[in-house]
Subunit: 404 residues, 4 copies
C-alpha cells in the first residue's frame, strides 16, 4: 500500500520514469507555518549527486506545495507535494532487459504485477522515497514546534567499519558514554562529513571503504542509528501498534533494509534481567524517569519520556557494474554487468529517510494519543478508585487524573 498512518496519513506516488514524484499529507494540524523551504532542506540532504559517494544522477529535487496552505500557514486540508523528475535518460536496450538483477526488485515486480517499468527501478527506485522525506519534514516541523522533538540519525557502520558502540565486548549493552552521546549529537555534526558519521576518524575510514568499493564496481552495506529526543510520554498503541512495532514497520519499508533493533536490541538478549532493567528515578522536572535506557525509551510499547534510539541495517545495493554469473528471464545462464547510475553505499543518503520515517511514526502516535487524552480530559472525576489503578500521588497530579 502507498498510504502510511492512521490520522496523520501520507500517500505517495511516483517512480523513476514518470513526470514527477510526490505525496499527499492528510490531517496535518491547521495553523502550522509551512513553506517549501521547510521541506527542501531534507530533500536536498536526500538528493543524488551530493558527493563522490553517491550516484551521479543529477536531480535538484525542488518541491512545490500544490495545496493545503495559504499565506504560509497550513489549513488542515490535504497538502499536495510535487517534485519533478528531471534527469531521466531515454531507455536504451541493455542487459537488464534480458537479466533480472540479482537481489533486486526486477523479477519480483514482474511476478507480482505481470508487467513492470521498462527502465530504471520503476516504483522500486529510490526516487520513491522523496514523498516520504517531504512528508516527514512536515511532521518534523510540527513535532519541533509543538513538543520540541529532535530527531537525529547518523551512519553508525559501513561494511565492518563501525562506531565503537556496535558489538561492544562490554557486559552491558552499550559502552559508557553512549547514551550521553545520543543526548548531544546534532545534525550539524552529522553533516560535517559526506558519509554522515559523526566520528571523524571512523568517518574517514568509511569514506575510503566506499571509494574502494566504488572503484571495484562493487557495493557495500551499513547501518544507520537514530535518536529521537523530547518524545512526549504515552505514545504508542498496544497491542498491535506498539511504538517499536510502528518504527520497525516504517524502517523496514525503506528500500534495502534488512534489520531493526531498538534500545538494547540484539545485544540485550544476552543480558540478565537485573542488568537490563532500567531503574526508576525522580528526574529534575519531578517526573519519574529511568537511570539507564536499555529500553530505548519504550516500555510495553509506550514511550516513557526517555530518548528513543534504534538502529537500521542496510544491505549492499543490488546493482553493481561488476560482472555477475546469473540467469536471464528465460532461465539461461549468463553474465550481467549492470550499466546505469547507482550508489555504491546507500547509508549516507538514507540518513534523512530514516529521520523522516521516524517523524511520521511519532507524529501519528502523537495525534492518536492527543485524541485519547483530550477525550478523557472531558470526563467527570472518578471517585474512590483503588490506588493501584491510579499510581501514587505524584503521578496522579502529573496526569491530572480525574480522581477525587
Amino acid at each position: 500500500m502507498s498510504t502510511f498512518g492512521t490520522i496523520f496519513r501520507v500517500t505517495t506516488y511516483g517512480e523513476s520514469h514518470g513526470k514527477s514524484v510526490g505525496c499527499i499529507v492528510d490531517n496535518c494540524p491547521p495553523g502550522l507555518p509551512l513553506v517549501e523551504a521547510d521541506i527542501q532542506t531534507q530533500l536536498s540532504r536526500r538528493r543524488p549527486g551530493q558527493s563522490d559517494l553517491t550516484t551521479p544522477r543529477d536531480e535538484k529535487d525542488l518541491v512545490t506545495i500544490q495545496s493545503g496552505t495559504e499565506f504560509g500557514i497550513t489549513l488542515g486540508t490535504p497538502i499536495g507535494l510535487l517534485v519533478p523528475n528531471q534527469d531521466q535518460r531515454p531507455h536504451d536496450y541493455s542487459e537488464t532487459d534480458l537479466y533480472p538483477r540479482p537481489s533486486h526488485a526486477d523479477w519480483t515486480y514482474l511476478q507480482k504485477y505481470g508487467v513492470k517499468a521498462s527502465s530504471g527501478g520503476g516504483r522500486s527506485s529510490a526516487r520513491e522515497t522523496i514523498g516520504r522525506v517531504a512528508a516527514g519534514a512536515i511532521a518534523e516541523k510540527y513535532l519541533k514546534l509543538a513538543h520540541g522533538v529532535e530527531i537525529v540519525a547518523f551512519v553508525s557502520s559501513v561494511s565492518n567499519v563501525a562506531m565503537p558502540f556496535i558489538q561492544t565486548e562490554d557486559e552491558n549493552a552499550f559502552p559508557e558514554g553512549f547514551w550521553e552521546f545520543l543526548n548531544a549529537i546534532t545534525r550539524e555534526e552529522v553533516d560535517k562529513d559526506p558519509v554522515r558519521c559523526p566520528d571523524n576518524e571512523i568517518s574517514e575510514k568509511m569514506r575510503k571503504r566506499i571509494l574502494e568499493v566504488k572503484a571495484a564496481k562493487d557495493s557495500v552495506g551499513g547501518t544507520v542509528t537514530c535518536v529521537i529526543r523530547n518524545v512526549p510520554l504515552g505514545l504508542g498503541e498496544p497491542c498491535f501498534d506498539k511504538l517499536e512495532a510502528k518504527l520497525a514497520h516504517a524502517m523496514l519499508s525503506i528500500p534495502a533494509t534488512k534489520g531493526f533493533e531498538v534500545g538494547s536490541g540484539f545485544k540485550g538478549t544476552t543480558l540478565f534481567g537485573h542488568q537490563h532493567n532500567d531503574p526508576w528515578v525522580k528526574k529534575e522536572n519531578g517526573i519519574l524517569g529511568t537511570k539507564t535506557n536499555n529500553s530505548g525509551g519504550i516500555q510495553g510499547g509506550i514511550t516513557n519520556g526517555e530518548n528513543i534510539y534504534f538502529r537500521v541495517a542496510f544491505k549492499p545495493p543490488a546493482t553493481i557494474s561488476q560482472a555477475q554469473q546469473t540467469a536471464t528471464y528465460d532461465g539461461e545462464d549468463g553474465t550481467l554487468a549492470a550499466r546505469g547510475r547507482h550508489d555504491p553505499c546507500v547509508v549516507p543518503r538514507a540518513v534523512p529517510i530514516v529521520e523522516s520515517m521516524a517523524a511520521l511514526v511519532i507524529m501519528d502516535a502523537v495525534m492518536i494519543q492527543q485524541s485519547r487524552q483530550s477525550a478523557a480530559s472531558l470526563l467527570p472525576p472518578i471517585p474512590n478508585l483503588p490506588p493501584a489503578m491510579v499510581g501514587a500521588v505524584q503521578s496522579r497530579e502529573q496526569k491530572k487524573i480525574r480522581t477525587e
Copy 2:
C-alpha cells in the same frame, strides 16, 4: 490499536484480570474446515505451566468458536474466539502497588491511559497474545491447505548460548548448511525439548541457563528464528507494506521484543554486493529461483518464492523477584522484589506466537495479492508491449501475462 491486517483482519481483546480473552477474525475465506482442535494445538504450545521453564500460572486456555462456522466449515463471516481466564488470583496489596516495575509497562500504561489495571499486567500481560495465536492458527490452516505453506519457529539463542549460525565468524552471512537446515526443520523436532531449540546439545545448555536464572530470581533474554516455506510468489505491498515491513511490525508487536532481522540481517550489512547478491538460476520447476538466499525470500519488498526466514530478539522479562533499587510512583527511592508468577525466559513460549504473527502477515498479503491477480486476469490481452516491460518468454508464460 487492537486490529491487525487489511483484508484478513484480527481484532483482539482481553487482559489478565477479565472474564476471558479472545479475538474476532474477519474475512476468513469461506469453505475452510475449522474446529476448535485446529486452534487448540498452538494455544496449548503457548499456554503457561507447560514445564519447569515457564510461569506456574495454570491455565488450560481452552478455546471455543462462538461464530463464523457451521458443521465445521467457515462461512466467510467473522469468527469469534473465546478463551476463559481461569487461574486468576485476587489482587492483594503488594509492593507493585507502590512501585512501577522497572522496564515494565506499569508506569507507561498509567501515563498513557491515566488509569491502569490494578493487578497483573492488564493488557500488557502475556495473556493478550492468546487472541493472536488463535487467529494465527486459522491463517496457518488456510495457508497450509491452499498453498502448502509451512511455518516453523525455534529458539536460536538464550542469553549468550546460541546456535552456531548466529554471529558466525565466516565471511558470509551464514555458515554452510544453514539454508538446508531451515529447509528441513519441523515443529516435531522443535518440540522434542521444552526449550524448543532443535539442537540437542545447545538446548541442554539453554535449559541449564534458564534454571540457573530462575534459581537466582533473575530472568534472561533470547532470540527466536522462524522460517516460512512454500511462500507464494509476489506477496508484499510496496512501498509502505513491503513484506519485511509487515513482518517487522508483527514481530515487534509481540511483548518483550527488541529487534528483527530478515535474511542476512545485520551481518549482511558488512558484506559486499558481489557476496551478498543472490544469483538467479532456473529451478527444477522451470521457474527462476536464487542460488543463495541472503535476501531471505524477499526482494524489493516482494516474495521471490524462496524461503523467508527472520530472527526476533526478546529481552529478559522485566518482572524479577530479586530485589531492585528503584523508585516508587511518588518518586521515593526504595527496593522492589516483585512477587507473583512469571517466566524467567519467554522464548520457549514465544515460538508459537512468532509463528502465528508470521501466519497473519502472510495470510493478509496472500489475500491482497489474490485480489490484484484475480482483477488483472479479467482484463483483455495487451498487444505490443516492449519486452523490458514483460520480461522474457518463460516468465511471461509462468504468469500468463495477457500480452499477445
Copy 3:
C-alpha cells in the same frame, strides 16, 4: 467488513445459530464509568419478544463485559462484550432449504460466500445488530457525560401512516413547530407506546396497521427519524468522511434500510436557495447559530452546533408466511410460505439501532476532531494572517485561534 470507525472502532461477530454474538470496542476513552446496566438498557429496547408487534423469538439478550474495565471504570483497552444466543431452535428441513426467500439475503449470501448458514438468517439475521447496539451504548454514555449529547429516535411512519411533518404540502421543507418538537422529544415519550411513535393518535393507527399486517401473514415498512442534540461544533471529516456521509453509511448498514435523508432531505431539493438557506444569528451563548435548520446541523460536511436530524427508510421485512410465487435454488417455479419467527414491521425495534449507529458516528468524529484541535492548540501563535482566514474577532476568540 465487520469493523466500523477510525479511532473509536467497533468490530462485531455473531449470527443466529452460533454460541453468542458480541463485539470488541477499541479505543474507548479511559476513565469512563461503565457497567453492564449501561449497555443493557438499549439491548433490552432492541430485543425480540417485547410486545405483540415483534417476533416471538424469546431472547433475554443479557450482556457481559469480558474485558476493558475494572471496578466499573474503562481502562482504555479493548472492551469485549458478549451476549449468548439462547432461544435457538434446531434446524428442521423446511421450504427455505429449497427456496431462497424473495428479497432476502439467502441467495446473495450463497453467491457471495459459496456456502451459507443452514438455518435462520446467519449473519444477515437481525441478531447481528446486537453488537452495534451494545457498542453504541458505550459511545452514547461518553457523549452524554463529556458533551451532554442527546440522541432520540422515533418511528415517524409505518406504511402510509405518517407523522404530519412527512410530505407536508407546505412550501417550506417542514411545517411550523417541527424543529421545536425535535428539540423537546425524549426517549421516555417515545417508549410510552410499543410502536415508539411519540404522537398518540398516529401511534394507535400504526399499531393497528401492524397488527392487520401480522394477521394477514404479511409485513410492512416504515421510517425512523432521529435527532442528535448538543452536538459539538466542527465534527465531520471532509471530503470523503463528511458527517452526513458517515451517518448515511451507518444507517444504510442497518438491515432492511433503503434510504436516508438529512435536514431538508428530498423535500429540500424542491426549494429555492433563498428559502433553503439558514441565516446566521447571534445566539444567547454569544456564538453564531442559525435561525432555521434546513441544513440539519451540518454545513460543508461539518457540524454547526445546531441539532442534527435525519430520517431512515426501512422496507417491509422480506420473510412473510403468506404464500409467494417464486423459484427454488434450482430455478424451478413454486410456492413458498416461510415458517419461522419474524417481525411484521421492523421500525419499533430499529429505534435503538438507529440511535446506536448515530452514537458510533458522532463518537468517532469527536475523537478525530479532538485529535486535530488538541494538536493545533500546541502550536505557537501565528502573526499577521489576513482577516478572511480567521473570521472576525468574536469567532477568533471562541476558538482561541492562535493569532496575535
Copy 4:
C-alpha cells in the same frame, strides 16, 4: 479524511486557490490500458463553463498522468493525477470576508480548523471533486473492460419539475416501464441536452426553471438518478460495508447532497411485503434473477446481479447573489449579497460526479470480493455439507462450490 476505499483507494488533494487539484489512485489492477483521454472525458463533462446553466468560471481542467503507467499501460503502482487551477482570481476584499455565507461551509470550516482559505470555497469548493471524477474514470474503465459494467446517471428532477417516476401515485414503488427505461438509457441520450435530463419535454422545463432562478439571483435544488448495469454478483461487505451503505457514504460525500435512496427507497416504506418482495425466476443464462427489482439489485447488502439504481438529493446551492438578512462573523445583523461565480443549480454538473463515486464503490467491492473468491477457490472440496448450506444443484454448479 481524504482517502476512500479499502483496496482500490483514492486520495485527493486540492482546493480552489492552490496550484493544482488531483489525486493518487492506489492498487489499480496492472495491465489496464490507460491514457489521459480516458480520464478527460468525464472531467470535461464536470468542468465549469459548459453552458449558460453553469458557473462562468472557465477552467479547461486538463489532466496529466504523473505516474503509474508506461506506454499507456498501468503498472499496478500508484497513479498520480494532476489538474492545474488556471482561472483563479486575486482575492479582493468583499462582503464574504465579513459574512459567513448562510448554509455554506465558511463558518464550519473556520470552527473546525481555526483558520480557513481566504477566498473561494477552499477545500469545500466544487473543485475538490475533480480528483474523484478522475479516479472514478479509471475505475469505470476497468469495470467496463473486465465486467462490462455500465454506469449512467441523469437529472431526474430540478425544483419540483420531476420525471414521472418520482412521487408516482401508483400503488407500486414505480410506474410501469421504469425498470425497462433504466435498462436502456445511455450517456449519449443524457448528454443531448445541457440539463442532462433524458426526457426532452421535462428537460426543457428544467432548463427554463434554472434560467429563471439564475435571473432572480437565486438557486435551486434537484435530484440525480443513477443506474449501474451488469454488476457482478456477490459485491458488498456485510455487516458494516453493505453495498448500499458504501453507495450512501459515497453519494453523501458529494458537496450539497441531502439524501440517498436505493431501489424502492422511501416510497418502498409504504408498501406491504407481498408487494415489495422480488420473486425469483430462472433467467435466460440459467441463473436465478428477480422478476421485479424493488431491491435495486442489492439483497442483504450484497448484489444479486440485477441493475443497481439509486437517487441522490442535491439542495439549492448556498451561494446566491440575492440580498440575504444574516449576521457577520462578529454576530452583527446585516445583509449579504454574495459576489463571485457560482452555479444556480448543481445537478447537471453533478451527473459525472455521481457516476464516478458509483464507480469507485463498485470497483473496491469487486476487488475485495475477488480476493475472497480467489482465496476460497484454492481450498480442497468439502464433503458432506447439508444441502441447506450450499443451496441446490444449479446454484452449486454456478459457483463451482467445492463440495463433493
